[in-house]
Symmetry: C2
Subunit: 243 residues, 2 copies
């Protein structure tokens, strides 16, 4: 596929301990697919510098874009910005432009921009800021890494803002077909179909509903005519069971 | 921490395309924490041999246990078993014990154990089978890698069966405290607390409810008395706002 590839890095002990159910991965996956960017890998790591730095370097090298979520707040476990700077050996300090955004936000809300909150203005040299329409503390873009908040409502706003500035590939299209047969009954035909349409991704997802075994087939790719042909052939192969 | 560490590998295009919202990670995270095993990393990769093999090798080397989900069904995109065998350069073929389980299941349900379904009896040499109480097709354990189904109800049954056979570490305990102040107000105290209790993990999760900014603090670790002390100090530090 000619589509750009992306990786996501989810940062946070709370996901790995089972305390919090991550929702950012699913959101980003859908948004990237719509934008014609293929999400090729996700990693979840704890709030530990060595783990974050190693993952950032590996993912940044292997993919066109990297998106991180989590660890950019004001507390001791918010270490993402410093780790990104470390990963690229870039200096980091409180930056005036980020500080000004925080100052305006706290002035408006009557809260104090104290030392802890000032940590959120630590931005690596040369990074571009990402707007935070909810709580002002910005994300940032350094090289091909987009650093965003973990709080879902802020993460989602930042994704929308970032994707509008990225060139996607051809839209990744999909069609699906429900077949009221178990995967094992249709696997042979699916395998032949996958061989004949190597540019398409053909996924098969079993379900059981009302006591009936069935399979949802999803065909994805950028070739609309190819997807149509493959779907037509598939529904003709199972004329009595395709819904 | 003296607790064993684990990694999870989620295998499947459907997660990365945004079609399916993974729930197995959250389930496994909670189950491991209860069992005293620390989930230290999760990766999500597509149905591509090179990606699966590289991830299995890296995770198996870095952690005490690896748990995979997805890709062990009967269709062309179910390639996990072969990739695990490749990763460890272990021969793989249809194994009689796995075939017997499938045969009994399909005999009982009046379905045919055809060539596609027989793929689910492909098990690497020397692997131990993991029971599948739902649809018979077994998972397996090769070295420190536990290979399980992606369908959540089967995954969860396999996790329960596998964990009963694994020695966990000390239970990972946690206590939480709600403080009706924004993270930025309490970050200084939290940071000092984290320094004074280096064996504990102190997490801070902001929320906004009914127009009030608040923070949920979660203190985790295996030292029950330490957690009690840290919690007592924290609630005394914010006597008017800790709930």
């Amino acid at each position: 596929m000619a589509n750009p590839t992306a990786a996501m890095l989810v940062i946070g002990d709370e996901i790995l301990s089972g305390r919090t159910r991550d929702s950012n991965m699913h959101h980003l996956a859908g948004a990237l697919t719509k934008h014609g960017i293929r999400l090729a890998e996700v990693r979840v790591v704890p709030d530990e510098p060595a783990a974050i730095i190693a993952a950032v370097r590996a993912l940044s090298e292997a993919h066109d874009h990297v998106f991180t979520s989590g660890g950019i707040g004001p507390t001791h476990d918010d270490i993402t910005a410093d780790c990104i700077a470390d990963a690229f050996e870039t200096p980091i300090d409180i930056r005036d432009d980020a500080r000004a955004r925080l100052q305006a936000h706290y002035d408006a809300t009557g809260m104090e921009l104290n030392e802890s909150r000032l940590r959120m203005a630590r931005i690596p040299d040369g990074a571009a800021l990402i707007d935070n329409p909810i709580s002002a503390a910005p994300g940032f873009i350094l090289r091909n890494v987009h650093v965003m908040a973990g709080v879902p409502v802020i993460f989602e706003a930042m994704v929308a803002s970032v994707l509008s500035g990225l060139t996607g590939g051809d839209p990744i299209l999909s069609q699906s077909l429900r077949i009221n047969l178990g995967e094992g009954e249709i696997a042979g035909e699916l395998s032949a179909l996958a061989e004949d349409f190597p540019s398409l991704s053909i996924g098969s997802y079993p379900f059981m509903k009302d006591g009936i075994y069935g399979t949802q087939i999803v065909i994805r790719g950028t070739d609309a005519a190819g997807i149509d042909s493959a779907m037509t052939r598939l529904s003709r192969a199972f004329p009595d069971d395709a819904a």
